[in-house]
């Protein structure tokens, strides 16, 4: 057996393997491209919190005894392709100090993959309370 021929055959197999791996990786890269973009989801989350604040829906939810259930109803207004979780922390102003009073949380569908977050603060001057809402969202 010619050892020179054998070495060349190994070279050829190695070259074919590299070429195939390169082509498969190109195909894999393009087929795994996500059509959704997290920038849009982030914008949607910010818009949603702003609209919920401006419409009074967030204050309304926090003024009810079943805060988590009300927050969950609010999240159901997001598209069904979006998983979300909202956390609203209530702070109160007392004797010159701001301190955490309670936290309410609700979620719709499980967050998966890339998760974006938006936050918005709002106040309720009549009862000297201050709220910080954080909305996390991902494509379901």
């Amino acid at each position: 057996m010619s050892s020179k021929g054998f070495v060349l055959t190994l070279d050829a197999f190695f070259a074919v393997f590299l070429a195939a791996a390169f082509m498969v990786s190109i195909q894999f890269y393009y087929s795994s491209q996500q059509p959704h973009n997290s920038e849009y989801l982030s914008k949607m989350a910010h818009d949603f919190l702003a609209a919920a604040d401006e419409s009074g829906d967030l204050k309304d939810a926090m003024s009810k005894p079943q805060q988590s259930a009300e927050l969950q109803n609010l999240l159901l207004k997001l598209p069904s392709s979006v998983a979300s979780r909202i956390t609203v922390t209530t702070y109160e102003y007392k004797n010159g100090l701001v301190k955490e009073k309670s936290t309410a949380q609700a979620s719709v569908r499980n967050l998966t993959g890339d998760v974006v977050a938006a936050q918005r603060a709002f106040t309720s001057p009549e009862d000297e309370e201050y709220y910080l809402s954080v909305l996390e969202a991902s494509y379901a």
């Binding site: 074919v16 393009y30 849009y40 914008k43 949607m44 949603f48 829906d57 207004k77």
Partner: protein
């Protein structure tokens, strides 16, 4: 007959076959990746146009501040960010579709804007333009949440490539 020459011929045929197979596979992969990339580029252009226009409509009040269909220079539907102005919404709905598209820089696309409530039925508040028909391609939908008269609404802007 010279056997050495025969073996070289078979080797040659075999290597040409492998080389041709690899070359064809590479060409097919390259063409498909290139056309996919080109399509994504076109799609991302129309996506960017849809999302930035929806953002412009719900975030800005336009120019002049109290614009109407007769004097509008820049279209915006908000009193302040994420709070829609019902008067501007009515003025926008009464505008000619071509002049609206021209002011929004969307002459190359089909445009449909729908503002609806977030109730179970998605009650329409305002509709502008005709929705895309079956021949439309590259349809992009951009939703923006806003408040209108103390109620949460969605501004849904649909953009598509004209044939």
């Amino acid at each position: 007959m010279n056997m050495k020459g025969q073996v070289s011929g078979i080797d040659m045929l075999f290597s040409v076959a492998i080389f041709t197979t690899i070359l064809l596979s590479a060409a097919i992969t390259w063409t498909s990746a290139f056309s996919y990339s080109e399509q994504r580029q076109k799609d991302s252009t129309i996506e960017a146009a849809a999302f930035s226009t929806a953002n412009q409509l719900v975030s800005y009040g336009g120019y002049p501040d109290d614009w109407d269909a007769s004097n509008v220079a820049v279209i915006g539907l908000a009193k302040h960010p994420n709070v829609l102005d019902s008067a501007k919404l009515s003025a926008f709905a009464s505008m000619n579709i071509n002049s609206s598209k021209s002011l929004l820089g969307l002459e190359r696309y089909g445009l449909h804007v729908r503002v609806f409530k977030t109730d179970a039925g998605g009650t329409n508040v305002s509709v502008f333009g005709e929705p895309p028909d079956v021949s439309a391609t590259s349809i992009v939908v951009a939703d923006s949440y806003s408040s209108l008269n103390g109620e949460m609404v969605v501004l849904r802007l649909t953009l598509w490539r004209l044939p």
